[in-house]
């Protein structure tokens, strides 16, 4: 191995490969550009394994090509009978032992990382968020703070935020590729993982376990802000007055309709730890509607009038009286002005 670039060669290769892969995909979504502790751990192992495997593949390919070039049947030697070799002890030992060594090189850091990521010894003192997976939305309950959100998960950068996850229906799997690998969200037990983001930003999250027709639309966002901003945001959320009347008249009508059309039966505004439907306290700040649509009034009206067309198999369809376009606009107006904090996905900056 010593020679060109000496001992630094593996490091150099490592860097080149990381650089090459970083060009893949969209920032804050792709796992190739890790921006959190878990994603980095995974990426290190991915790169290590690619290097080992590329080495093996190169050898296989080399032998393969030489064999095919040298030992194809030759013209004029159709009757040539090759020597019938039974085997070769030395060779066979070599290609048994070398793979064992290569596997060990990968196995040791794998085991170390597995135990490292499973370490929950600091969970007690850290930030804990109770996560509930639902068809097809996510509920986040910031334990001890009496703050709940859905779809947008706020975390401070640099800190481990422990997610204690359970499902209310089928199995889901929480995945924020840029920050951390995934973990299943089971209905029978609480699974704990942590997110630790290095940089501020809005990160894409996805459901990775088939959970029904709208599985692919169960996106969410992780909003990573500075620890100070996070404190600010928590206190803003805590001081929300759910009964506050909106300023303009359209939104006031919307608020009345929100109760009249029984939206309020499932959707809480203000703190409510258990929710049948997504908590809407900071709906106006949400980065997306229904998990994937731009937060415009137009989209929200469409969503309110025919949710089935936007998220097939969702639990909202048919569970409220019909709303006219006019009414939908009023409700939309009310919901979109629910902006309790200056800290929002927008301020976290893209």
């Amino acid at each position: 191995m010593i020679g060109w670039m000496g001992k630094r060669k593996p490091l150099f290769l490592f860097g080149m490969l990381a650089l090459l892969l970083a060009g893949c995909g969209k920032e804050n979504l792709t796992a190739f550009e890790p921006k959190g502790y878990g994603a980095e751990s995974s990426m290190n192992l991915i790169i290590l394994s690619i290097i080992i495997m590329a080495f093996v593949f190169a050898i296989v390919l080399l032998v393969y090509v030489i064999t095919l070039v040298r030992f194809r049947k030759k013209k004029g030697q159709e009757d040539f009978i090759p020597k019938q070799v039974e085997g070769n002890k030395t060779l066979e030992t070599v290609w048994t032992v070398i793979p064992i060594i290569l596997v060990l090189i990968l196995a040791v850091p794998t085991v170390a990382a597995t135990f490292d990521l499973a370490d929950k010894s600091e969970a007690q003192d850290g930030i804990n968020v109770e996560v509930t997976g639902n068809q097809y939305w996510w509920h986040f309950n910031y334990e001890g703070d009496e703050v709940q959100t859905s779809q947008d998960l706020y975390i401070p950068t640099g800190e481990r935020v422990y997610l204690n996850m359970i499902s209310s229906d089928v199995i889901h799997s929480l995945w924020v590729p840029s920050i951390s690998g995934k973990m299943d969200v089971n209905p029978e037990n609480v699974n704990t993982m942590y997110l630790q983001a290095h940089e501020e930003g809005v990160y894409w999250g996805k459901c990775a376990e088939l959970c029904g027709p709208s599985h692919s639309l169960m996106d969410f966002k992780v909003v990573a802000v500075s620890p100070e901003e996070y404190e600010q945001w928590i206190s803003d959320m805590q001081s929300v007055d759910p009964e506050a009347e909106p300023e303009d008249a359209v939104a006031q009508d919307g608020k009345a309709l929100f109760e009249e059309k029984s939206c309020v039966a499932c959707h809480a505004i203000g703190s409510s730890p258990n929710a049948t439907g997504p908590n809407l306290t900071n709906f106006g700040d949400r980065s997306k509607i229904a998990g994937y649509l731009e937060p415009t009034e137009e989209n929200l009206v469409e969503w309110l009038m025919d949710p089935e067309a936007i998220k097939p198999g969702n639990k909202m369809t048919g569970n409220y009286p019909e709303v006219s376009e006019e009414e939908a606009k009023q409700i939309a107006n009310y919901l979109l002005q629910l902006k309790p904090s200056d800290i929002s996905p927008e301020s976290a900056g893209n």
Binding site: G25, K26, A31, P312
Partner: protein, 617 residues
Amino acid sequence: MSIAAAQKKGFMAAVWDYLTTVDHKKIAKLYLFAGGFFFLLGGLEALFIRIQLISPENDFLTAGLYNEMITMHGTTMIFLAAMPLLLGLMNAIMPLQIGARDVAFPFLNSLGFWLFLFGGVLLNCSWFLGGAPDAGWTSYAPLSIQSPGHGVDFYIMGLQISGAGTLIGGINFLVTIVTMRAPGMTYMRMPLFTWTTFVTSVLILFAFPALTVGLFLLMFDRMFGAAFFDVTLGGNSVIWQHLFWIFGHPEVYILILPAFGIFSDIISTFSKKRLFGYTAMVFATILIAFLGFMVWAHHMFTVGLGPVANAIFAIATMAIAVPTGIKIFNWLATMWGGSITINSAMLWTLAFIPSFTIGGMTGVMLASAVADYQYHDTYFVVAHFHYVIVGGVVFGILAGLHYWWPKMFGRILNETLGKISFWLFFIGFHLTFFIQHFLGLMGMPRRYWVFLEDQGLDNGNLISTIGAFLMGIGGLIFVINIIYTSVKGEKASADPWDGRSLEWAIPSPPPFYNFKQTPLIRGLDPLWIEKTEGKGKITPAEPLGDIHMPDASILPFIMSFGFFVAGFGFIYQVDHSGWLAAIFIGIGIALICMLIRSLKDYHGFHIHKEDLEREAD
């Protein structure tokens, strides 16, 4: 009844002949035909999936239909295409390779096929009866329990019935290889394809019961109000995943080991060399099979089993790379120093080596648990298992078909068409799946009905779809090749490839009694030994005498039909108790068939020595 007499009969007689046959060669053809049909069906489903994913937020399929499509694609390809095609090749070739006149239980052989076919038909009936299963081929609870309609019920009953057929087939092959080897055919003289058939049968024997149990529990949950997997009533849904993967992982080896056997035979034949490291190859096969039972939880790294379980299963999984690597290097060493002929069969084999190596390497990458937290349930996994299953199993089946087609059907598949279909399929395959490794890590989970705009996933998916169509065209040309060959194909001699194993010592296609006289085996590659050191012909182990053959029977067909009827009964009795009658009628039919089979003596018949002598002229 001589062969000539059978050929003179009409079409209906031929149909009756196939419905009642217990001849392993005819059952093999049934398996190949049915498996081929389901393969085309599964391929069509794959194309629908790829059309849906050709562009972001496409609406070619609805969300519900898409989930049905992916479920049926996976289920069909694994249970109704890949396995039956392999069982077909095993049926056609394995008895010939050990010098047997048929399998140990010809009646069960037929029963195994018809159970598989009726199970497969039952499963596909769901398309026309309110919708196919939609919980994925893995059918994870509680999604599979909550799935509305009868789709998942069809999955349960269809797989239960066809699974019983597979189990019967596996046991049959085991007994055949243990008891029916010709004199001198010791275990360590068996061709690798027979060895892998043997080990695969062991895997079937131990793996399928786990699936059977899982399906039973799911059946009781869905149809009879039990709550094994229902968390709200004290059940546990993770148990399903364990049961499924205790079956599911060995299943992967049930598919790939026979393909390894096929490649071993082909490489040895077309390099004109004895298989390098035969003993190591046999023990590597056994080791892979053994380890295959120790690694199921690597499908469950993200379930939350804890670091201890994840670490153990990660290391066990990585260990499988060692015997697999041994095989790859042994194949290369077999070719090294040989005189290599490259024809269609060999092209598929040569394509397999690098393709499967990539699949094996991504397998090791997936085994690294923490890395898997990123790969898991993304297109990386989709790419990985298609590299092993298409690059390994499908390439293996196609190689095997090109290699043994002359033996099975007496004609050689057209080389030109064979090469065209190979290149289209091969290029299409890499185009479809290589890019998917990257799509996965770029943030595309699997089983996504749509991917969103502006996530950087557009180009990769477009390329993947184009590749899928190339594969489709390649597959079609292979079908055209079959039709062309059966009409105009070149007639095959007994030994068109200068073969080494026993099947090339008898005419193509073989007479229905296979070997006029049971052969005497003098070593590994018996025909090669006789060609190079003996008198060019296999020495018989017995004088010419009467041959005892089993009776044909329609009972397996009727029995399977009974289970098919009962299957509908189980599915629909949930809606109306009147359907319970179908259960009783169906099971009744099956029981009556069993009773007839038990009470009636089947004597079989003899082919007389004089007839055999006359046919030789």
